[in-house]
């Protein structure tokens, strides 16, 4: 993975400009702009239904915005397909864990290497020579991730049998296996107990420090958001209502109103 020193910190990695998205009559996002700089942890917060998940879905190409533009690593695209986003270095986890239920934890994380595998299937059938060397290399990378996330003991367990907290960890592992430049985390701590939350926070901070991975983090727990993030975007009813450092955002009257549910 990339070392933080490789790139100038602060350079814009992702720019979202005036993005709007609607489903039939429902306006999920209206004219939202924000950016993510290299190496930062960028929190996206807001009440339920504010459009946070929709924003991530636009960024990784699941949804195509009705209007607006997205610039990633200097290339602007009106729309992008999910596998193109993945190829470009965007990985993600899901609000409701989306794992390959039939596979073990190890195979799930291995699946994150899909795009890094180059040998054709004839080589794989033979299972020797260059294909074998490649497989060994992938396995080593995957084992590093497994050690990092402290899940060595469950690597051979089918993920369907794992408790929720560990499933979330495996899902993070799968995203890391892609060696992403931008990691989109949709409520990675939802439904976790305090201890699990602390572990997950530590992993997020560590991977940001150690590998310099830029992170977009959706999270409801304000304590976590204040501790982890460099900057915060606040959405409400699909509109951006605030953008700044955790302290700036915390003191913003609109944000306070949104969270206290003041009538509009």
């Amino acid at each position: 993975m990339r070392a933080p020193s490789e790139t100038a910190a602060g350079e814009t990695l992702l720019a979202v400009e005036a993005v709007s998205l609607s489903f039939g009559g429902v306006k999920a996002l209206t004219d939202v702009s924000f950016d993510i700089r290299r190496g930062e942890i960028r929190a996206i917060i807001g009440p339920n239904g504010a459009g946070k998940t929709s924003m991530l879905n636009v960024v990784n190409g699941f949804y195509h915005p009705n209007t607006g533009r997205i610039t990633f690593k200097g290339t602007t695209r009106p729309k992008m397909r999910p596998h193109e986003a993945a190829r470009g270095g965007i990985a993600r986890t899901f609000q409701n864990v989306a794992l390959f239920r039939g596979m073990t934890a190890l195979d799930n994380i291995m699946a994150g290497r899909t795009l890094k595998m180059h040998r054709g299937f004839f080589w794989q059938l033979l299972r020797h020579g260059p294909a074998m060397a490649e497989e060994v290399e992938h396995r080593r990378k995957v084992e590093d991730i497994i050690d990092f996330l402290e899940i060595a003991h469950i690597r051979k367990v089918p993920v369907g049998r794992l408790p929720y907290g560990l499933q979330k960890r495996v899902e993070l592992g799968r995203a890391l296996a892609m060696e992403p430049e931008l990691l989109l985390l949709d409520e990675p701590m939802a439904g976790m107990n305090l201890e699990e939350k602390e572990d997950m926070s530590r992993f997020i901070v560590d991977l940001n420090d150690q590998f310099g991975t830029s992170i977009a983090l959706i999270e409801h727990d304000m304590g976590v958001v204040m501790d982890l993030s460099d900057r915060v975007v606040v959405l409400e009813y699909g509109h951006k209502i605030a953008d700044g450092t955790p302290d700036e955002v915390k003191g913003d009257q609109k944000v306070i109103d949104a969270y206290l549910g003041v009538a509009h």
Partner: protein, 318 residues
């Protein structure tokens, strides 16, 4: 009392009394079973990759066979016609992905199912338009498929194996093993299993659904062609061939819609069960038996194993 005897005792007495006939029946069941397995595999691959129940699988058998014979009639040499038909099936897979699956992505499964109805009638129309609607004869000779039969003595009688049946069993077995291996071992196989488990997770790690869809529809097309050649050589090439695919449904009920081993073992059970049932119980139950026996076998089986052959035990969450 007599009826009970006729149902539960007499057929087994007959089996024991004439082992040569039993072996003959088992053989015919085996041949049918391998072909059922092959066609069920076509269904399973498409269902795994896209959750679509492909109603058009049966007509793809006819369409492929018709294209092959039709091209030959128009003067194309047999093996060139074969290669061209494979290319046509690839073109079909590509077109289905572009024109049908991609625009309908994220639509409810029932919509996609209906779309395969549309595809069925489109293929019927296209086949008739280009090659005419008359039954044709499979170009078995030109493809060097064997003719005649091998007979051998067995337990005081004769067992006769049609050479075309032997060829069908061998070729279909090879295809079944090749496809199962391909989708079990290779990178594409891994991707297919990932897609089957979760579309959005598969997309997020960079698997291209479009590519997988083209591959599985092409595999289903080649399966259809093989079945069309073999089944066509045993009867004739006409639209009635599509009923073979109706036999795939009980196979799928038995084996599960997403299980490759299920399709194989299910195919063999249905094929053999059907021929045995027809031969030994047919006279008793009437000649219509072959149209419902396969379903009957599948349903009886489900009573005892509701999760299907290879499904995990279903544990109801309360």
């Amino acid at each position: 009392m007599n009826l009970l005897y006729a149902i539960f005792i007499d057929p087994f007495v007959q089996m024991g009394g004439a082992p040569d006939l039993l072996v003959q029946t088992l053989w015919e069941g085996l041949v049918a079973g391998v072909l059922y397995a092959l066609i069920a595999l076509g269904f399973v691959l498409i269902f795994k990759a896209s959750g679509v129940f492909n109603f058009a699988q049966g007509i793809m058998v006819v369409f492929a066979a018709l294209t092959l014979v039709g091209l030959h009639e128009k003067g194309v040499p047999a093996f060139l016609a074969l290669a061209m038909t494979i290319a046509v099936m690839y073109g079909l897979a590509f077109a289905v992905e572009r024109l049908m699956l991609r625009p309908l992505v994220n639509q409810p499964d029932i919509i996609l199912f209906m779309a395969t109805f549309g595809l069925t009638y489109f293929l019927i129309g296209l086949g008739e338009l280009v090659f005419g609607g008359n039954p044709k004869v499979m170009i078995a000779d030109a493809l060097f498929l064997p003719k005649g039969a091998i007979e051998f003595k067995f337990a005081g009688g004769f067992v006769s194996l049609q050479k075309i049946d032997i060829a069908a069993a061998v070729i279909a077995s090879i295809m079944v093993v090749a496809l199962a291996t391909f989708f079990q071992v290779t990178r594409i196989g891994r991707a297919l299993r990932a897609v089957a488990d979760s579309h959005k997770a598969a997309l997020s790690v960079g698997i291209s659904l479009e590519q997988i869809w083209v591959i599985v529809w092409f595999a289903a097309g080649v399966v259809a062609l093989t079945t069309g050649i073999m089944w066509g050589a045993r009867s004739e090439v006409s639209f009635s061939l599509q009923i073979v695919s109706l036999k795939a449904l009980p196979v799928l009920i038995l084996g599960g819609f997403t299980s490759i081993p299920g399709a194989i073992v299910g195919g063999l059970i249905i094929g053999i069960g059907e021929k045995i049932g027809e031969f030994y119980w047919g006279p008793l139950l009437g000649s219509g038996i072959e149209s419902w026996l396969a379903y009957f076998i599948a349903l009886v089986f489900l009573l005892f194993r509701p999760q299907g052959l290879f499904g995990e035990k279903i544990i109801e969450r309360i």
